[in-house]
């Protein structure tokens, strides 16, 4: 048993029992980050902040929200938006944060791809991040249903219907998910449970896992340089701060993150107060009406690229119906990013601009996903359907065929050198 001496302060008393100093060292003061980074490395802290805002604003909304199809719309639009003190602010913050959090997630993901931060021991960082992306998506989808507006209802109707495409169990599965034959009160209540309990819980655990996966391989840097973190840390601690290639998480790394965060918060709050329609679609201020289909049904912007892959295949091929091909492509699109560490066959860890063909592949992927996103919102008629089709094919080819091909060549070029 440990020896306990009389403590001279509350901190010391706690330190004896909880090893606070050591914990602080491990988590922050001596948690080492490469020095050679840019502001894209601050997206993690931005995401943590956005998630915190979502949780806190969500708690306030939860105190007044009513998960009942007869009450939900008014509880949001009247009680929260008009009656509750600053309820409107919580709702605007919650809705806008839910939307921009995906912008930051995408920036974070593309940063990871650009700098090849998913290989050489960093595979678990990537996978836990993708798990977070998927749970965030489910969280966003379930949350969008809660105000029970027109798009809440019809998006839920369309998306839950997708599960009907799964062979054999599809139809039963749809009923099981909805808790009824169509989207209705039991659907709302169970998605409410998912949104405020199960999914946030899973997200919090996954955030813990994501942080944990960083500890052994450490954060990547701008040049993909392999750093001996122990040696560099010793240098830093010996006072050679300028020569060392690493910096401690606190205060050096965070001091920069706070600045980036400040700039981001200006952008975020500008949207919250003055430009919120993109995140709070006007059509969702019409109460849900199962008898009145809106002329255009579309998901929130961050789902549009995968939605377009689903819609892109609009004609039957042999025995496969357009719907089935779309569903298969959609299924692939939703899991394909998990496999990036293995689709990339090259051992080279370097920023894309030092990787030849990979550089062009990166921008092609980004541009293709933006095209899918934009065309995912447009009515799928005439030329739009064809653009969607080619962009979907391109997406699948880029990831399934071109990426392995060009990275295999890169591996050959690198030979045994890497």
């Amino acid at each position: 048993m440990a020896q306990f001496t009389k403590a001279n302060s509350l901190y010391e008393w706690l330190d004896q029992r909880l090893a606070l100093s050591k914990l602080w060292k491990v988590l922050a003061a001596e948690y080492w980050i490469p020095k050679n980074i840019n502001f894209l490395w601050a997206m993690g802290v931005v995401l943590v902040t956005m998630f915190t805002i979502l949780v806190i604003s969500g708690i306030f909304l939860l105190m007044y929200y009513k998960p009942d199809t007869k009450l939900a719309f008014d509880s949001v639009n009247y009680t929260i938006m008009q009656e509750v003190w600053f309820g409107w602010l919580w709702r605007h913050m919650h809705a806008v944060a839910a939307s921009v959090v995906f912008l930051v997630i995408y920036i974070h993901m593309f940063t990871g791809i650009y700098y090849a931060s998913y290989k050489r021991g960093r595979e678990m960082i990537w996978i836990s991040g993708m798990l977070l992306f998927v749970t965030f998506s489910a969280e966003a989808f379930s949350g969008y249903m809660l105000p029970w507006g027109q798009m809440s209802y019809w998006a839920a109707q369309v998306i839950t219907n997708l599960f009907g495409g799964i062979p054999f169990i599809g139809d039963d599965l749809v009923v099981w998910i909805r808790g009824n034959f169509y989207v209705s009160d039991p659907t709302l209540t169970r998605f409410f449970m998912l949104h405020v309990f199960l999914l946030p819980l899973v997200i919090m655990m996954l955030i813990g896992l994501h942080f944990y996966t960083l500890r052994i391989p450490h954060v990547n840097n701008q040049d993909g340089e392999e750093i001996d973190f122990d040696a560099e840390a010793e240098k830093y601690k010996a006072g050679l701060k300028k020569e060392s290639k690493v910096i401690p998480f606190w205060p050096v790394f965070l001091s920069k993150d706070f600045f980036v965060l400040g700039i981001f918060m200006i952008f975020y709050f500008f949207l919250v107060f003055y430009h919120y329609d993109f995140a709070m679609d006007p059509i969702n201020f019409d109460p849900a009406n199962p008898m009145k289909t809106p002329p255009h049904i579309y998901p929130e912007w961050y789902f549009l690229w995968s939605y377009e892959v689903l819609r892109g295949f609009f004609f039957d091929v042999g025995p496969l119906s357009a719907m089935d091909i779309g569903l298969i492509a959609f299924g692939i699109a939703n899991v394909i990013f998990f496999f990036i560490p293995w689709l990339d066959r090259s051992p080279v860890v370097a920023p894309a601009h030092k990787r030849g063909a990979f550089f062009y592949w990166f921008w092609a992927l980004l541009i293709d996903m933006i095209i899918l996103t934009i065309w995912g919102k447009l009515p799928p008629t005439g030329i739009n359907a064809w653009i969607g089709f080619f962009a979907s094919i391109t997406f699948l080819l880029l990831l399934l065929v071109i990426l392995p091909k060009i990275t295999k060549k890169e591996a050959q070029r690198a030979g045994g050198a890497v």
């Binding site: 639009n77 706070f258 600045f259 500008f270 329609d277 255009h296 933006i370």
Partner: protein, 305 residues
């Protein structure tokens, strides 16, 4: 410098995506339409000068008060709203503020041929006559009626709420401001009173549905779901934006339309002023936060760079 280059790239692709899914996509989903002019150019202008003093006599002689009340002139409604809706489909409007709400040209035309002026020819005709009969009286009477209504309206103040209730409130609920098609919901103590109110409301709504083919929506959140511009242009000419709709052209003047919109904004976006006010302070806070954070970062990084 490199950081700024990266930032420019991030901003560029973010803006392209935003442009694509918002302004561009919406321009395709909602084709452009000409903004409202409030000129009602398809209607014939009034070619006689009316005398307001003779107007009341003309109103009585032509039978207007058989259906319409003019509360400002102490002419009561012949029936309560529910009974009226059972007879006509909708409760006929009180005329006290008609001279201020409606465009003069529209007013003349709606008296002469209501279905045509309201652009409801596709719903009413010889088989299904419009509840208000066409006017076959003389042109001077018509001019006098309008002169009278305008003079009468001048003596009263047209508030945003009154504009809404008179122009929209007999078909549309506005429950976030306690307005219902049969009138404001009174404070009720007993379950019986509540049930009676709800029954009346349901009866009125059923009559309205019978008349229009559908129940007009509650407009509480329409300022958020449709926005000022759409409401303005829709009210001026519903058929232009939603061909075949049962909503009549109501012929509001530009001023009255903006009063209706002002009221809808007060009800559906009550916190707008607070939002705009608080926004500036929150942004200022984060500007100061960022400056301090930058200075702190510079100081800390001096040691390592």
């Amino acid at each position: 410098m490199r950081e700024l280059k990266i930032l420019a790239i991030v901003i560029f692709f973010t803006l392209v995506t935003y442009w694509g899914v918002e302004p561009f996509a919406h321009s395709i989903m909602h084709p452009h339409h000409e903004p409202a002019t409030f000129k009602y150019e398809d209607l014939k202008p009034l070619n006689k000068k009316g005398d307001p003093k003779r107007g009341m006599k003309a109103i009585v002689n032509n039978g207007c008060v058989g259906c319409h009340s003019i509360k400002a002139a102490n002419v009561p409604a012949p029936m309560d709203p529910v009974t009226a809706s059972a007879s006509y489909g909708v409760n006929p409007p009180d005329l006290s503020l008609a001279g201020a709400l409606y465009d003069e040209k529209f007013l003349a035309n709606v008296i002469v041929n209501p279905a045509h002026a309201m652009k409801l020819d596709h719903k009413f005709g010889d088989n299904k006559p419009f509840p208000m009969p066409n006017f076959y009286g003389n042109a001077q009477d018509l001019a006098d009626i309008i002169a009278y209504l305008k003079a009468l309206a001048k003596h009263q103040q047209l508030t945003p709420k009154a504009a809404f209730i008179n122009a929209c409130g007999r078909c549309h609920d506005m429950k976030y401001d306690n307005w219902y098609v049969i009138g404001p919901k009174p404070k009720m103590d007993t379950e019986l009173e509540k049930a009676e109110f709800n029954l009346k409301h349901a009866q009125y709504q059923a009559n309205l549905k019978n008349y229009l083919g559908t129940n007009p929506p509650d407009l509480s959140m329409y300022i958020r779901s449709r926005g000022e511009e759409y409401i303005r242009d829709f009210v001026e000419d519903p058929q232009k934006l939603l061909p075949g709709t049962a909503m009549p052209r109501v012929g509001l003047t530009k001023e009255a339309t903006y009063q209706v919109i002002e009221y809808m904004e007060k009800v559906g976006d009550r916190k707008k002023d607070k939002r705009n006010f608080l926004g500036a302070w929150v942004l200022l806070y984060f500007v100061i936060f960022s400056i301090l954070a930058y200075l702190w970062k510079k100081q800390i990084w001096k040691e390592v760079e």
